[in-house]
């Protein structure tokens, strides 16, 4: 696959009440044609600004954006061949859905075949004569999407496109959108703070924090191989317990002795424990020969439909979480024994936690 966009060492400073504020602080990533990516991060981390910079609505302070093998810093927004779907959809209130889609397109630019294809694909053929206030949030979003796609951009940027929709609709819409883009072979970057949306939509995800991309990986790797404590905390459920280095690759914690395959700096250390790596005995996982059973007390439960998340207090008062099929019920105060998948353990230096805290 051919590379479509490459962002290198991008810095953006914006003026806020006369002060120069760093919004983006050394962004780097690449995207291939047809790839679907998400930028995931907490509010105010610079995700939306990054989209505005890519399309040319904000100026670059330093760094380069190479798009279609050209540096596009000086290219005007409407000449960049990039489309943007705004968070509030930005449909013009006095124009019908059809007029909104066609705004600014001359007869020569209007591709009737593509229009029919898109309208049928996103099922808005019956609402084209309606005004934005007569449309639901989902319908407005589809109209905004068609308005962007009808211009055949090489790259589509989506700024929190599902934020106005009901929670049960979000994942469905994300999947639907993924299918549509894959069908059209369109490259897209979606900004969101909802990890489920990002997982459903993307091939790869960039986790953003304080104007930086702290990890760019596939969803599976973000969960199972987070590169720092922030990513580990931001993606999925996790708990940390203290770990002591015994030798170069060997550690000891309240869950017992374990080995890791990466070299670490000097401690103190923390062990990241995912709830799906903790198996309460007798529930689903028969003990293998080399597994050791550990004891703890259930102190809290959080019912989540198919699964229940239990908080287990260890003998040294540290806590871990375990995700258990919900038909297996345990009571608060109940003593349980459990075993762990030690080969999936990841260790972080406590200095990493210190750095994270400073960033918050």
């Amino acid at each position: 696959m051919q590379q479509l966009i490459m962002v290198e060492n991008l810095h953006v400073h914006l003026k806020n009440q006369g002060n120069d504020v760093k919004i983006l602080n050394g962004i780097n990533f690449k995207l291939e044609e047809g790839e679907l990516a998400s930028l995931l991060g907490p509010s105010g981390c610079g995700k939306s600004t990054l989209l505005r910079v890519l399309i040319g609505l904000e100026k670059i302070s330093t760094g380069t954006i190479v798009f279609e093998q050209k540096n596009i810093e000086m290219v005007k927004p409407h000449k960049r061949n990039i489309g943007l779907v705004f968070q509030d959809y930005a449909l013009f209130p006095h124009l019908t859905a059809h007029e909104n889609i066609c705004i600014g397109l001359s007869e020569n630019q209007f591709n009737n075949e593509l229009f029919t294809q898109l309208v049928n694909m996103v099922k808005i053929d019956e609402i084209l004569r309606r005004y934005p206030h007569e449309l639901s949030g989902g319908q407005q979003q589809r109209v905004a999407l068609v308005r962007t796609l009808i211009r055949s951009p090489r790259l589509v940027l989506l700024d929190e496109p599902f934020s106005g929709l009901d929670s049960h609709l979000k994942e469905d819409m994300a999947k639907e959108l993924r299918m549509l883009f894959k069908k059209l072979k369109t490259t897209a970057i979606m900004v969101t703070h909802d990890q489920k949306e990002a997982f459903s939509f993307s091939d790869s995800i960039g986790i953003m924090r304080q104007g930086q991309i702290v990890q760019w990986s596939k969803a599976f790797d973000l969960y199972h191989e987070p590169q720092n404590r922030f990513v580990a905390t931001f993606i999925g459920e996790t708990t940390f317990i203290k770990a002591k280095k015994i030798s170069e690759y060997c550690f000891y914690s309240a869950l017992g002795e374990f080995k890791i395959d990466k070299k670490t700096d000097d401690g103190p250390f923390e062990l990241m424990v995912r709830p799906d790596d903790i198996h309460i005995d007798g529930v689903s996982h028969p003990l293998a020969n080399d597994e050791i059973s550990i004891e703890g007390e259930i102190i809290e439960s959080d019912f989540r439909g198919a699964m229940t998340l239990y908080l287990i207090q260890l003998e040294n008062s540290e806590c871990i979480k375990s995700l258990v099929p919900s038909h297996q019920k345990f009571e608060r105060g109940q003593k349980v024994s459990f075993h762990v998948d030690m080969d999936r353990f990841i260790v972080f230096s406590e200095n990493d936690k210190f750095n994270d805290d400073n960033l918050i």
Binding site: A90, H94, I103
Partner: protein, 529 residues
């Protein structure tokens, strides 16, 4: 299009410069005139202005609050029709109401004499040419300002209030007293302060009732004591009172946003049936007959009478010029004002970013708070100085310039406010979208700005046109010779006690006004549909 920004500054300067000239008038105090004012007029002026204010605020509240309540919370056949009927007093200039009131209920009024003849009551007891009568006239003419703001308040907050009250098992009467009325205070204050400003600004009605208010005081100082300086000084005092009103108006306007933090739900309207419905219709009918029916019929009947008389044809011919002046002066001024308002609203949305620019913009809207009498004085003074310095004779002061400047300063905010809201419909995302699609300026105007604002611009046009048709003090005090308007004619005839003749221009003016009110209403109604 940065010229739009400059126009904002220009209009703000038009508001500020006359005010500065007024304040500087205190450098030459004419002791004799002031002694006369202090001994004979100022105490009465202060007292009667205060009594008038309190009375009108009470009167308009007693009318507007129940009407807004019934219109918001009850459903009955003809409710929408009443909505427009309750706005019709806006078509009647205050001085026309005053003239009708005096013709019917004055000492020698038609109804006064009829009642006196049949009941033996002294005409002095029925005569409304007193402070109480003036308060009634003001209340009938000005209540729509409060009615409109309270309708908005009840419509946006009433639903939530009664839902919460029901869930907490609070009685309806308690909910109204303890929740609904306190929560809608900012709207009430905004409406009532608008009425206070209109009351303080009135000149025609007060002078017909021989009331000694600030505005009549200014007029008398200028044309009675022949002292422009004293008139300026009285005007400055009134201006200070008005700006205190503006300060509180702005304060309550900003609180509206605070109250609006609650998501509004439209109130459920209770269906009225049986006796209650009959009683409501009866109440509405009596009220509408009093405030709209009788005045309109009176004007119509007098018009027929005058025009059917021996010199009716001559009279109608004599009104052709004032009608023409009213229409063309109002039309030209409306076009100027709308052009300025449109440009300024555009500038506010896309160009005015820093607080300094916004301060100028907001200042340009203060003109509406300045009574016409003050503006006339305040604009005349600098123009007179320019005349003396440049021409050595009255050139600018004898032209239409003071008139159009006065109209612009006073009424630009009426056009500007709705257009500003209309342009605000375009969010920052819309602006970005326009950039991303690279729409040309022509396309932007043709496809976006113009279609988006055209309906509002039209209703703003009718609003401004209506106000200009009714305008009296600026026209009376600054019009060039031979440019009498219908409003001026009404004032002249009523000053001479010729009520019958005054009815004909009034009828024409009110009929034009009713058309304008209906046009404006169509948009108001849309808001709640």
């Amino acid at each position: 299009m940065l010229v739009a920004k400059k126009i904002s500054f220009f209009v703000a300067l038009l508001v500020i410069i006359p005010m500065i000239f007024l304040l500087f008038s205190f450098t030459e105090v004419q002791t004799e005139n002031w002694l006369h004012l202090i001994h004979f007029q100022l105490p009465t002026m202060l007292k009667s202005t205060a009594v008038l204010l309190v009375g009108v605020l009470l009167g308009t509240s007693l009318i507007a609050l129940p009407l807004a309540y019934f219109q918001t919370f009850y459903q009955f056949p003809g409710r929408s029709l009443f909505e427009v009927l309750f706005l019709l007093p806006l078509a009647f200039p205050l001085y026309v109401y005053a003239a009708i009131g005096l013709t019917l209920f004055g000492l020698t009024g038609d109804i006064t004499l009829w009642i006196s003849k049949h009941t033996g009551l002294s005409p002095f007891l029925i005569n409304i040419k007193n402070q109480f009568g003036l308060i009634q006239i003001f209340s009938f003419a000005l209540y729509p300002y409060l009615y409109v703001t309270m309708r908005e308040a009840f419509e946006t907050h009433g639903g939530k209030v009664f839902e919460v009250a029901t869930s907490l098992k609070i009685k309806k009467s308690v909910a109204i007293r303890k929740i609904l009325l306190p929560i809608t205070k900012p709207w009430y204050a905004a409406g009532i302060i608008l009425i206070a400003m209109e009351t303080l600004a009135d000149f025609g009605a007060s002078s017909m009732f021989n009331a000694t208010t600030f505005t009549t005081g200014i007029y008398r100082s200028w044309f009675g004591l022949f002292s422009l300086a004293t008139a300026e000084q009285v005007a400055s005092m009134l201006m200070i009172i008005i700006f205190i009103c503006v300060f509180f108006y702005k304060k309550f306007e900003s609180k509206k946003n605070y109250s609006m933090a609650v998501k509004s739900i439209s109130p459920k309207k209770k269906k009225l049936k049986g006796v209650k419905l009959v009683l409501l219709y009866l109440g509405y009918a009596i009220f509408l007959v009093a405030v709209v029916g009788v005045p309109f019929y009176f004007l119509f009947q007098k018009t027929i009478l005058v025009l059917g008389g021996s010199r009716g044809d001559d009279f109608i011919l004599s009104l052709q010029a004032p009608l023409y002046h009213s229409l063309y002066l109002s039309l030209i001024a409306t076009i100027i004002i709308l052009g300025l308002s449109y440009t300024m609203a555009y500038a506010r949305r896309f160009q005015l970013k820093n607080s300094f620019d916004i301060f100028w913009f907001e200042t340009s809207k203060l003109g509406y708070a300045i009574p016409g009498t003050i503006l006339a004085v305040a604009l005349y003074v600098p123009l007179n100085k320019i005349d003396q310095i440049i021409f050595g004779k009255s050139v600018l002061t004898f032209s239409l310039i003071p008139l159009f400047l006065g109209y612009t300063v006073r009424f630009v905010s009426i056009g500007l406010n709705p257009l500003e809201v209309s342009f605000k419909k375009l969010s920052s995302s819309h602006s970005s979208q326009i950039i991303v699609y690279g729409l040309s300026s022509l396309t932007q105007w043709k496809k976006i700005y113009f279609p988006l604002t055209v309906t509002t611009a039209l209703s703003a046009f009718f609003l401004v046109f209506l106000e200009l048709l009714k305008e009296l003090p600026i026209t009376l005090m600054t019009r060039p010779f031979g440019r009498d308007t219908l409003a001026v004619k009404i004032f002249e005839y009523t000053s001479e006690g010729d009520w019958d003749r005054a009815a004909v221009p009034s009828f024409i003016l009110v009929s034009l006004g009713i058309v304008a009110v209906i046009m404006v209403y169509l948009r108001f109604n849309k808001k709640y549909s």
